[in-house]
Amino acid sequence: MEDRRAEIRNFIMDTRTLPTLPGIVTKLNTLADNDKSSIQEMARLVSSDQVLSARILRLANSPSYGFYRVATISNAMILLGVDVVKSLVLSSSIFEIMEKSVLGLWEHSLGAGVAANIIAKRLHLPECEEISTAALLHDIGKVIIRLNCEEELSDLPVRIAEKGLSTYEAEREIIGTDHAEVGGWLAKSWFLPEKLIVPIACHHDVEAAALHQSKTAVVHLADILIKASGFGFSDNDFVPPIQPAAWKRLDMTETLLAEIVDELEEKLIDVKNFSLEIQSADDSQA
């Protein structure tokens, strides 16, 4: 079991094996690390790939970011931040897999992004865009796990149903690791900042987050809200328990949660439309 865990970890850390990562990413990382590089330089680099830019702008204009009207990559970098755009560049190929083959998970991720945005704004937390991005990416490990361990995981649904396990517990039983940990490795291998890695890696165990606990708590709650709503689908439709640590960390109250749910349900109509538009756009391209 430990072997399998190490194997998966090695696989992820070896970037050559990942689903088609755009070559732009390495250049973008170099630019982002250099204090002297400007946003314009980075924007020019991303804009040089038209297909990629179109995908980034589509995500930047998605309901997860509260409907900015972003028309150019450099505007997206200024409005959403370089880290957010970088994560979108990195995850665009994985989102492409999700949109096409795991539609339920794609809608679950979009919905969690929206929920996290609403929670973060209501609580006046700093860096709302980073929190939305972490929520958008929180289940990204699932795509990688499904790509690599399809056969081993074929009885995952059975275990979840018969033993009453949650998805990550069942994953741990079978492959010795789970999608949160794998997502964290993935984010790390992409050199994403800690404020994105930690919420992805700890969204099922808020107390394990040594840093960025508020962000992690928001992503944890967003994941649960979207499951409670029945929007999208991620392996099973059972609502996991809200961790008391997350509730406390966010100073959550019933009144506030009720307001968040009202706002979320209103926005989810838009999210559904957004998802349908993307489906029909992809269909007409094919």
């Binding site: 499951k227 809200i242 209103e266």
Partner: protein, 105 residues
């Protein structure tokens, strides 16, 4: 609250969301929420190119729509594994109230 195509809108329905122009969603609303639709208002919205409106309650039943009972049953199923958890129980009650209100009961 239900979003319906303008072709199914009827006088007497109440707007649950502001109606905005598709090309300028952040601009000023054409018609505010809480307004009761009339035949002439629906005609005017249609002439302005509005495709859909969000109205209160659940006035139009389409194929695949779930009834209140079915929705509450689904909710019970989704929360079946956390039935005894106090915090998650609060969330369930919030959703229960929301569903009942959204169906206009």
């Amino acid at each position: 609250m239900q979003k319906i195509p303008i072709s199914l809108a009827q006088s007497g329905m109440m707007l649950a969301k502001d109606v905005v122009r598709a090309e300028n969603p952040n601009g000023p609303p054409i018609c505010g929420k809480g307004v009761e639709l009339t035949d002439s208002l629906i005609d005017r919205l249609r002439n302005m190119g509005i495709q859909s409106v969000t109205v209160q309650g659940h006035p139009v039943w389409m194929e695949g729509d779930k009834t209140l009972d079915e929705m509450l049953k689904d909710l019970d199923r989704r929360f079946s594994r956390v039935a005894d958890d106090p915090l998650t129980g609060k969330l369930k009650n919030i959703y229960r109230d929301h569903i009942i209100r959204s169906m206009g009961e």
